[in-house]
Symmetry: C2
Subunit: 239 residues, 2 copies
């Protein structure tokens, strides 16, 4: 309906100013925004009640729409969980892309990724990021989620190895250290639901400071500043 | 049946040597051993298939007994999950008790606790320890589990604060550091099911080494040896 107001006839502007594609682009954008709203509502419900205890009816009720409206944006509850998962991990994938060419030691690039990771887990998508895999999903969906997680795991290991090589990280077992870092961060989704005395950004910073103590070389340079902040993709709304 | 062989009449020994309570003590021990077997079988099933996908029939089948036999040892599936949880966390509680009076710096006591923690999470009780809370338990059971977990959390924070005070731990935010340590360890239950290239003890040691790098004071003494090993309570079999 909104798009009708912008047709040449309605605005009185020359046809050239309003491309015949414009209305359709706006409809697409409108659809994307509504789809994001559905995903965000789902993330909140899954977070609050768990995946199995949440129905598409609950999500529709939260959005004050009907269930068929929800089906217009996603094909199933499973797909909805997957979209919530992706909204969370996309923030981490974006952080990896952003730091790739930064001309700073690998520890600083790793810190930036871990900070975004922490913020993502503390976001409303955190529960879905961390728990999606345990919800008896279809084998195909499960494989997809595992692959995306594995990419993050290997990205962290790679940055650790680069840091050991460039001297910014104390030599360590990259695989175990990556598991320890990811575990510490993933666990935020568990306790943060009940203890919200800090913001997600504050928690992420506190964790990076803790990790920093373990990662930086013994007798090495002072901790890096927390200034390496990359553009952050804000979950569903940025997709 | 076993106990009958040991009654005075059967052994021919004087009644004084075999207390009339002995048979009943042995029956109790026998019952405790069988109960532990039920708990261990349950832990394996929960670990493999998840709590909601496991029935008491599955557990009975694994033990080659009937379901009523299982009910002889536990009153419900929920209680069974709770017992599995307790079998895991008891190893950590025991470690706290063991290190309490050790005349070593707090960091070494903390290391010993964290090593037992890591081994417990990598044990067959790990999944139940970490996931019990998310299984829609009764409010009373949930509170009980939370209280036992909270005790561990506060025990770790206390050791961190003591370490900062005695100079064996770099000053840090005790609460956040305790969350980071516990998170890293809890997450073992997640990935260890699929990646069993190391033993639980090796993983626990690798994690303590990683933590050690972050905990010990900058420019402080060299890492402590891994010799502080306390008596370990072996899960269900020691209860």
């Amino acid at each position: 309906m909104n798009s009708r107001r912008r047709t040449p006839a309605a605005t009185g502007k020359p046809a050239a100013a309003a491309s015949p594609w414009r209305a359709s682009r706006e409809r697409l954008r409108d659809r994307a925004l509504k789809r994001d709203a559905v995903i965000q509502a789902a993330a909140r419900e899954f977070n609050r009640k768990g995946y199995h205890n949440t129905s598409l009816d609950d999500i529709a009720a939260r959005l004050e729409v009907t269930k068929p409206t929800v089906y217009y944006y996603v094909t199933s509850k499973e797909q909805l969980l997957f979209e919530c998962f992706v909204a969370g991990v996309e923030q981490i994938h974006a952080a990896f892309r952003d730091v790739r060419t930064l001309p700073v030691p690998a520890r600083e690039r790793l810190n930036a990724v871990l900070r975004h990771y922490g913020e993502a887990v503390a976001s409303e998508f955190g529960w879905c990021m961390v728990r999606a895999e345990d919800q008896d999903l279809s084998p195909a969906m499960s494989r997809h989620i595992k692959a995306l997680k594995s990419e993050i795991d290997h990205g962290i290991r790679r940055l650790i190895r680069e840091g050991v090589q460039d001297g910014s990280i104390e030599p360590c077992d990259a695989k175990m250290t990556a598991f320890a870092l990811a575990g510490a961060l993933n666990w935020i989704a568990h306790w943060y639901r009940e203890d919200r005395t800090l913001t997600g950004a504050q928690i992420a910073q506190a964790f990076v400071t803790i990790f920093e103590g373990g990662l930086r070389p013994r007798g090495g340079p002072a901790p890096v500043s927390s200034s390496v902040r990359t553009r952050r993709t804000r979950g569903a709304s940025a997709r």
